[in-house]
């Protein structure tokens, strides 16, 4: 029945005017996503102001398209320049940029587009058919569960490096976490590690840090090189081969599922989804040594997951009025401003709205796919521009993006600081991906650990009391120790015993 309603809504929205809104807004979202510093959150907030007087339907379809477009658009700059356009695409840099450098830029963009599309479809399915069921999952993630999820994030830091050096990955991650503690904390409101500077009370926003560690470092790296590198010729088809996609069907399915589930968890957004999917994909891969050097699988995992996360994040928005990610929080506010009241009442008062909303999402997804594949080749010309011209311009965009987020001059100083910190880090083999992940994870760990203790008066056992916690703990354990000898030994023993049992049984 749901499918019929969805189909009806999709047909109803098929009009020239509506499609114009969708395509223009999606393109705008892609551009916003591409510019370092301007994120999906920012884009939706900006457009909320501009569309305030519009008719509710047009305004909402515009905002959804911006969201979908921006999360996808960030992959462009990640692949072309090694600068993630939004935090969601930081994991895309790991493999997307090496692919582009080896002359497979068109293919990388095509793959990113296709996997974003497939991820978006996974999100669409969750959104339109499972919203009532999955919505309640959001309520299962309380302080303890989110704490363990964050710990799992720390555990995968060691895996997010191109080199085999797990140690440096973890050091990077923990450094990021420590930097995230700067500022007023969430429980008693005490300003930690601020050295008495009021500007540091707000802590480090993720955007200046991201733009500094990726954007500025890349600019400095390119400009300080003596010889200007010859642009790699970018020939090749954009549309990925069907068999490449089919070969990755499990990878796509897995990443889509991870994206949707992480999207549903309140407050945990696209960035973590893409990191986790990347890690899972590396673990499951037959060629894990290719990861970080231009692995197609890694690129697919990251891009599928972050777009699947968009759909996932909107599930609790519709069913409970709880945003699943930071951009979804702004979208929720926009819905309220337009007198649409998502939440538990929506199912009772206007159950068909889910399908209307999903249909908007559907059109935005289609627009993203088509726009993503059509203007790849002119875009690749960016790579042919000499660094001396391109990099100063990129720097201007980095500056504007960083400033625009909060309108604070201090954020520019933060960006420079982290750029100067990350530049030697990169040269010395400390990867930046875990560092950025650490900045995101730090507050999650801090808040939820201490709140969990407050709730149970310091009872440690309560952290192990729910099934979701246990699952996450097991995941952490295997992430950290699966390759160590005793665990392998036990594991091999168990599987051997199991196999012999099966054989005897048959």
């Amino acid at each position: 029945m749901g499918a019929v309603y969805l189909f009806q809504a999709v047909i109803e929205q098929f009009s020239i005017m509506n499609l114009l809104y969708v395509f223009v807004a999606t393109q705008l979202g892609i551009i916003i996503g591409m510019l370092p510093g301007l994120t999906a959150t920012m884009g939706i907030a900006l457009l909320t102001t501009l569309t305030f007087r519009w008719d509710a339907g047009n305004a909402i379809v515009t905002l959804i398209s911006i969201y979908v477009g921006a999360i996808y658009g960030g992959s462009r700059s990640a692949v072309l320049l090694n600068i993630p356009g939004t935090p969601a695409n930081a994991a895309t840099c790991l493999d997307g940029f090496p692919l582009a450098q080896s002359g497979r830029g068109a293919e990388a963009i095509g793959l990113a587009t296709t996997s974003s599309f497939l991820g978006s479809v996974a999100g669409l399915i969750a959104l339109s058919f499972f919203t009532p069921v999955l919505g309640n999952l959001a309520l299962e993630f309380k302080s303890f569960e989110i704490f363990w999820l964050a710990i799992f994030g720390v555990a995968i830091c060691g895996n997010l490096t191109a080199a085999k050096d797990n140690l440096k990955g973890w050091i990077s991650g923990i450094l990021g976490i420590i930097f995230s503690f700067v500022g007023m904390e969430a429980i008693q409101g005490y300003p930690r590690l601020t050295l008495g500077i009021l500007n540091l009370y707000t802590g480090f926003d993720i955007i200046p840090v991201l733009v500094g560690t990726y954007g500025l470092v890349e600019i400095l790296h390119n400009l300080s090189k003596k010889d200007v590198k010859e642009a790699v010729s970018q020939i090749g088809r954009v549309l990925p081969r069907f068999k490449d996609v089919v070969a990755n069907r499990f990878n796509i399915l897995r990443s889509g599922l991870i994206g949707v589930v992480i999207g549903i968890i309140p407050g945990v957004g696209e960035n973590i989804a893409s990191y986790v999917a990347y890690d899972f994909s590396k673990r499951a891969s037959k060629t894990p040594e290719q990861f970080g050097k231009g692995s197609v699988e890694g690129l697919i995992a990251s891009e599928t997951a972050n777009n699947a996360c968009v759909g996932g994040a909107l599930v609790p928005v519709l069913s409970l009025a709880i945003p699943g990610s930071p951009p979804a929080a702004v979208l929720l506010a926009a819905l309220w401003l337009h007198n649409v009241r998502p939440g538990p009442l929506l199912m009772i008062e206007n159950p068909r709205y889910i399908y209307e909303f999903s249909a908007m999402f559907f059109w935005a997804t289609c627009a993203m796919f088509i726009l993503g594949l059509t203007i790849v080749k002119p875009l690749l010309r960016i790579l042919r521009l000499p660094n001396a011209i391109l990099m100063p311009i990129v720097f201007i965009f980095c500056t504007i993006g960083t400033f625009a987020i909060n309108g604070r001059f201090f954020d520019l100083i933060v960006m420079i600081f982290f750029g100067l910190l990350a530049f030697p880090m990169r040269k010395l083999g400390f990867p930046e991906a875990p560092f950025v992940l650490g900045i995101i994870l730090g507050p999650m760990i801090d808040e939820n650990l201490r709140r969990g203790f407050i709730l149970t008066n310091g009872n440690v056992l309560s952290f192990f009391s729910s099934p979701i916690s246990m699952m996450l703990i097991i995941a952490v354990f295997f992430t950290l120790f699966a390759r160590s000898r005793p665990v392998k030994y036990v594991f091999a023993g168990v599987s051997r015993g199991f196999k012999s049992l099966v054989r005897r049984g048959s």
Partner: protein, 340 residues
């Protein structure tokens, strides 16, 4: 040929959004003596989607028309809104920088030592929304009514969620236990929405956040209302009246928050007049009334001297409460704030 087409297509798609959105920004004629010539910046020192943000965005949207210029809403969250408020205060006093915040926050930055140099008296307030705190519990909780609530607080340690130290729910809970004479377990979250969600999910039993933040969950029966911290009952469309707390404790003060715009004093008089006039129109708008109805709060029109009184009362009530509960060590007396 194909290259040319794709390049031009690329250009068209780049330019089109600009044109489309530029079309919506036609300048309209302004009123009053003051003719703003550039975009007004409205700093909301909280995240997008919160109560301050919603109120500010609606007011901005309505006032744009009257003033004839665009009003850009900029979210500058962090440090309980202190840094964003400070930045706006330090901007040139020409009427082009406003703040969208709550009376309580503006009134307590000084006492919490976040902005030691800026007093609530340095601001002219324009308050558009009034929203009282509501005592609500998780529907599975054994607490069914007022007596049950008092009994629970007296016999066990009840976990109360709040949006953080000094936030609405915290102030309400502290006031409540002051009158009941018990203790409770304060569980702070990062914002009103997470605190309400924690109570819906059962992680905490009680939440006393603003009516705005709990209205939809009450309507959906995911929370149960016990009383509103006001002297008149609260009406939420589709629900029974929520009894006022003064039904049970006569002298219980009203714990309610005003949301609106704050503009530093010392801007040109004609700018002040024009803003006042535009504000008066904006609070009568359907958009604000709809939002108030939907979010179980009240659209008000408080400005000028009346707003100063409201701010003074808020400062006195909240500062002393924070001092008495040892949240802050600075005495309100030092700042010349009388005890309520």
């Amino acid at each position: 040929m194909r290259k040319k087409i794709s390049v031009s297509l690329c250009l068209v798609l780049l330019v089109l959004p600009g044109l489309l959105f530029a079309a919506g920004t036609k300048e309209k004629s302004s009123v009053g003596g003051w003719k703003p010539t550039k975009t007004i910046t409205l700093v909301v020192p909280w995240g997008a989607g919160g109560s301050s943000d919603l109120t500010a965005r609606i007011l901005a949207g309505e006032m744009e028309n009257r003033l004839g210029v665009k009003i850009a809403v900029v979210n500058q969250p962090g440090a309980s809104g202190a840094t964003g408020t400070k930045a706006a205060f330090e901007a040139p006093k020409d009427g082009y920088t406003w703040v969208g915040n709550a009376d309580m926050s503006i009134a307590t930055y000084q006492i919490l030592d976040l902005l030691p140099e800026i007093s609530h008296r340095d601001w002219q307030a324009y308050l558009g929304i009034l929203t009282p705190c509501v005592i609500t519990v998780n529907p599975d909780s054994p607490i069914k009514d007022w007596d049950g609530l008092v009994h629970a607080f007296k016999t066990r340690e009840v976990a109360v969620a709040s949006a953080g130290i000094g936030a609405g729910g915290h102030v309400a809970a502290e006031t409540f236990v002051k009158y009941i004479g018990t203790k409770y377990k304060h569980v702070p979250y990062k914002g009103g929405n997470p605190a309400v969600v924690a109570t819906v999910s059962g992680e905490t039993e009680v939440v006393m956040q603003l009516s705005q933040e709990v209205a939809d969950m009450l309507r959906a029966k995911k929370l149960r209302a016990i009383a509103v911290m006001d002297n008149k009952p609260l009406m939420i469309t589709g629900l029974d009246l929520i009894p006022p707390i003064t039904n049970y404790i006569k002298e219980f003060p009203t714990v309610a928050f005003h949301f609106g715009l704050f503009i530093p004093r010392g801007i040109p008089q004609e700018a002040q007049d024009s803003i006042s006039e535009a504000f008066a129109v904006a609070v009568q708008s359907k958009a604000l009334k709809d939002m108030a109805e939907q979010k179980a709060s009240i659209a008000v029109d408080i400005k000028g001297k009346e707003a100063d009184t409201v701010m003074e009362n808020a400062a006195s009530l909240f500062s002393w409460l924070l001092f008495d509960t040892h949240v802050t060590k600075i005495s309100p007396e030092k700042l010349g704030i009388p005890r309520p």
